[in-house]
């Protein structure tokens, strides 16, 4: 897991929170002008303040971690998704604090550094595959239990 986190960090172009790209600057200026004149201060607070820029970028990076469609079509077969969910929930049932801690590491990393990486969110893969394996084990034992009844 640590190896994947380090690999993710080294291969990702980090999000620039301080400097806006040309496109971002154009969009920011355009948006500032879309506010009514009476809301100029609010416009400045929401669109131009560095804290707001950082907030929106962090929010975007955080939510992009949960891009199920990309992860489970481009990187991991879709079949793993239900197994992953079952395995994750079973793991949380047994060791909630540990699982939440382990899962939060790649989430925090990707939130901070962003997703500009040709390899994808590799730091998530060990967690997803392990949970999916747990989910498969759980599913098999559940089927066995019902069959034996």
């Amino acid at each position: 897991m640590a190896g994947f986190l380090i690999f993710q960090y080294q291969t990702t172009k980090p999000t620039n929170y301080r400097v806006l790209s040309e496109m971002e600057k154009i969009a920011q200026l355009r948006r500032m002008n879309e506010y009514p004149p009476s809301a100029y201060r609010l416009a400045n607070l929401i669109e131009a303040r560095p804290e707001s820029v950082v907030y929106f970028k962090l929010e975007h990076n955080f939510l992009k971690v949960f891009d199920l469609e990309t992860i489970f079509t481009k990187y991991i077969p879709s079949l793993f998704l239900p197994l992953f969910i079952i395995g994750l929930f079973e793991a949380i049932k047994n060791r909630p604090k540990l699982i939440l801690f382990i899962s939060s590491l790649p989430v925090m990393l990707l939130t901070l550094i962003g997703h500009e990486n040709t390899k994808g969110p590799v730091s998530l893969f060990p967690f997803i595959y392990t949970s999916a394996a747990l989910g498969l084990i759980r599913l098999i034992s559940e089927i066995r239990r019902k069959y034996e009844k």
Partner: protein, 549 residues
């Protein structure tokens, strides 16, 4: 007990009042234009009100042809009394969506009360509040077409069905509502049979067949009786317009498309981070379908749902969650958030589960301080998205400009307006709406033969001519030699073309950012005819080359 019930009712009323403000405030002005879909609904409702026939002259159709969509009819008929009272305008056709969403708040409230999954007495009100203030809900409470009314009636039917099985009864009211919902929107037409089939498979043991035999018989009779119009439509093209995904012969491609679409609809990024819907008319900029921070109670709620899966209420919630996006995923290759509106209810209920758990873990005072802060923050971001950015950035997707154009047309009834519709043949609906062109006149365009094959004959016209308006592609070899005004955007009529054909600018229509989007040019037939003659006389006979002077 009594006083707490009254307090609950007062708070629920306050939530509904707040929601009313969100759904109806400046309803005619925001969205700041009428989409083609809204205009065609409004005009057909107006046509039925005036003549008893739709725009094509078909009497009280069981599916409205519109642009070839064959939309289920009930929303159009529901709009009629509002148009009668308020006139043909945007607010009149949008009000039914807002009113039905207010009913949706009660649906959520009573679902939370009856699913028996929630422990806190505050959760029903909190979940109702979340529903009422969700961006996805507010956006569709303010549109004037059928999708909102459809999912609310479906959800109401699902609620009655649930309450029925909790007392081992099959609810005929619920079945009737589900059946009615299939006449409101395309989504419910496919969703209801899928939902009912899975409901019977997984919940038949909860219905005491001994006690319910008569009810089951009545249920079958009720469904058959109310589905007669749909059963007729099944044999026509009109029923099958929204399932283009089945046009592919490749099973693998079909399945992978279907799975990819389902994953997108369930994806937290799509729900909380910004919609993947490529049609920008369907969403507001810079905001998710839900407020982003609701992802936390959503994940908690999902886990709580998993823990309670043995309970019938949890299974029913999973049934709603699993079936809701299926019609949307089957309807085409692109993501469309308005085809999966029934997904709102189970998602909000899951978020409610998450809040229910949080209410038990966090001291109430701290919980409500945090919640209030987050909602104020979200309220500001929603105001930014919907009230500031949306009218300035998404107007083009709502056919902005045609109301102003209709005013120009009305001012000059003696001049013919040729309006370029080469890139969007559906814009004629806005002109009909704003001109309030007499439906009985418009219906004369269509023959009896056309109406005879109404349900098997999707519309495909090259142009629309009514009043002093002709909506079609501009014919550059004909139009400049007649006295008329040519209307189009900068792609339709360039400066070079205007100069070449001696056109004089008659008017400009600006967008909300004060940039011109539509131009009206008056032709100059005399100059153009003379110019044509000169060009003809300069041609060398038998060749395309001009003589050098």
């Amino acid at each position: 007990m009594k006083s707490s019930l009254w307090i609950e009712r007062i708070i629920l009323s306050l939530i509904i009042i707040l929601a009313g403000f969100l759904y109806f405030y400046r309803l005619g002005e925001l969205p700041n234009s009428l989409s083609d879909d809204e205009a065609i609904v409004g005009y057909n409702a107006f046509s039925i009100l005036s003549t008893g026939k739709d725009e094509f002259g078909k009497s009280f159709p069981i599916a409205f042809r519109f642009f070839g969509a064959y939309t289920p009819p009930l929303f159009v008929y529901l709009s009629i009394p509002f148009i009668k009272v308020m006139g043909l305008n945007a607010a009149a056709i949008r009000i039914p969506s807002g009113l039905s969403t207010l009913i949706g708040i009660l649906v959520i409230y009573y679902f939370v009360k009856s699913l028996k999954l929630y422990r806190s007495g505050i959760t029903p009100l909190l979940t109702a509040f979340i529903f009422s203030t969700t961006p996805w809900v507010i956006y569709y409470a303010r549109v004037g077409y059928e999708v909102t009314f459809g999912y609310i009636v479906f959800s109401l039917g699902a609620l009655f069905i649930w309450r029925g099985i909790t007392i081992n009864k099959l609810s005929l009211t619920g079945l009737l509502l589900l059946s009615i919902s299939t006449y409101i929107a395309h989504t419910e037409r496919y969703l209801v049979p899928i939902f009912l089939l899975l409901f019977i498979i997984f919940f038949h043991t909860m219905i005491d067949l001994g006690k319910n035999r008569a009810r089951v018989i009545w249920a079958v009779v009720l469904l058959l009786a109310t589905q007669v119009p749909n059963l007729y439509l099944v044999s026509t093209k009109a029923f099958w317009v929204k399932n283009s995904v089945f046009e592919s012969n490749n099973i693998y491609s079909l399945l992978s498309d279907f799975v990819a679409q389902l994953l997108t609809y369930y994806s937290p990024l799509a729900l909380f981070g910004g919609s993947p819907d490529i049609n920008l008319q369907h969403t507001s900029p810079e905001i998710g379908l839900f407020f982003s921070w609701l992802i936390i109670p959503f994940f908690i709620g999902l886990y709580q749902l998993y823990l309670k899966l043995e309970k019938p209420g949890a299974k029913y919630l999973v049934l709603l969650l699993v079936t809701a996006p299926i019609p949307g995923a089957l309807s085409g290759h692109f993501i469309s958030v308005q085809r999966v509106l029934p997904l709102i209810v189970p998602l909000v209920l899951i978020i409610g589960l998450g809040f229910d758990w949080l209410l038990r873990k966090i001291p109430p005072g701290i919980f409500f301080i945090i919640l209030t802060t987050l909602f104020i923050f979200s309220g500001v971001l929603f105001w930014r998205s919907y009230w500031v950015l949306f009218p300035k950035e998404r107007f083009a997707y709502w056919s902005y400009g045609f109301e102003q154009l209709a005013d120009m047309v009305k001012k000059k009834p003696e001049i013919e307006f040729v309006i370029d519709s080469s890139r969007s043949s559906t814009v004629y609906s806005g002109m009909l709406f704003f001109l309030q062109f007499p439906p009985e006149e418009y219906q004369k365009r269509y023959s009896d033969q056309f109406r005879l094959n109404y349900y098997s004959n999707p519309v495909n016209y090259a142009g629309y001519k009514f009043a002093n308006v002709d909506m079609r592609p501009i014919k550059w070899n004909e139009d400049p030699v007649s006295d008329r005004i040519l209307v189009g955007d900068s792609l339709s009529i360039s400066g070079v073309q205007a100069k070449e054909h001696f056109l004089e600018k008659a008017f400009e229509i600006d967008d909300p950012n004060n940039k011109s989007i539509l131009f009206g040019y008056r032709t100059n037939p005399n100059k153009k005819i003379i110019d044509n003659r000169i060009k003809e006389s300069n041609k060398v006979p038998g060749s395309d080359y001009k003589l050098e002077r």
